[in-house]
Symmetry: C2
Subunit: 137 residues, 2 copies
């Protein structure tokens, strides 16, 4: 029950971009260095985030990435689902058919409630609230 490394890196990359002045681009190298993310892995993550409509990429030597919308309009749920697909705490919460026993299983109630809670908090956590803070020098 642990966040994937891919989603963790993606959240931190988006946090970094959300902390930049509006419209400013960051290169893969700059994000990788600031967040200590392996560059090759980050390149794939930023591509996936762009494909998902969360980032916009600009080609060329002065190119880079920025958020596709305001930080307040990008949530943790958007980022995690772009990386790993729908958040599903247990298979039975998505489809009771995943478990033959869901009618007699009292535990499913627990997972349904926690699933609802978790998706709600992830969808309320946006990058206006969680953006990179400047390092004290």
């Amino acid at each position: 029950m642990q966040l994937s490394r891919k989603s963790d890196y993606a959240l931190r990359a988006v946090m970094h971009l959300a902390g930049l002045p509006k419209g400013q681009l960051a290169s893969i190298g700059a994000v990788a260095e600031a967040q200590s993310i392996p560059r090759e892995f980050l390149a794939k993550i930023l591509k996936d985030l762009t494909w998902a409509g969360i980032l916009v990429s600009f080609q060329g030597v002065t190119g880079g990435y920025r958020l596709a919308r305001a930080p307040k309009d990008v949530t943790f749920l958007d980022v995690i689902e772009a990386m790993d697909g729908p958040v599903t705490l247990n298979l039975c919460v998505v489809n009771p058919k995943n478990c033959d026993h869901s009618k007699n299983c009292t535990i499913r109630e627990f997972w349904l409630k926690e699933q609802e809670h978790f998706v709600r908090v992830l969808s309320k956590a946006n990058f206006q609230k969680y953006k990179a803070v400047s390092k004290k020098k």
Copy 2:
């Protein structure tokens, strides 16, 4: 961020045993059939639950498994941690040293809060509340 199959099966096995009359044993075969859990996998899970002190096993043809303590004294957290180790929603929540950036990372607050919530609800969910209900015939 999904419960492992091993932990899901373990929770359901314990739920099944918690629903039996006090002191009654269940064989591996009976639990496997009632909960549609692959028998070989279940054998390993029940062994691990016994090793963790959650179940007691009795050898012989009339042997089987029962809870080592009252259902109200066994929690989801006990079972999940016996299967998969400490519940850790993100690496940084256990040890800030897992992330070089934890001082400047606003996201860590989020995971600390959710970790606290999740461990609390798992430790409050006991098998007196979540025990198997009889099938309607």
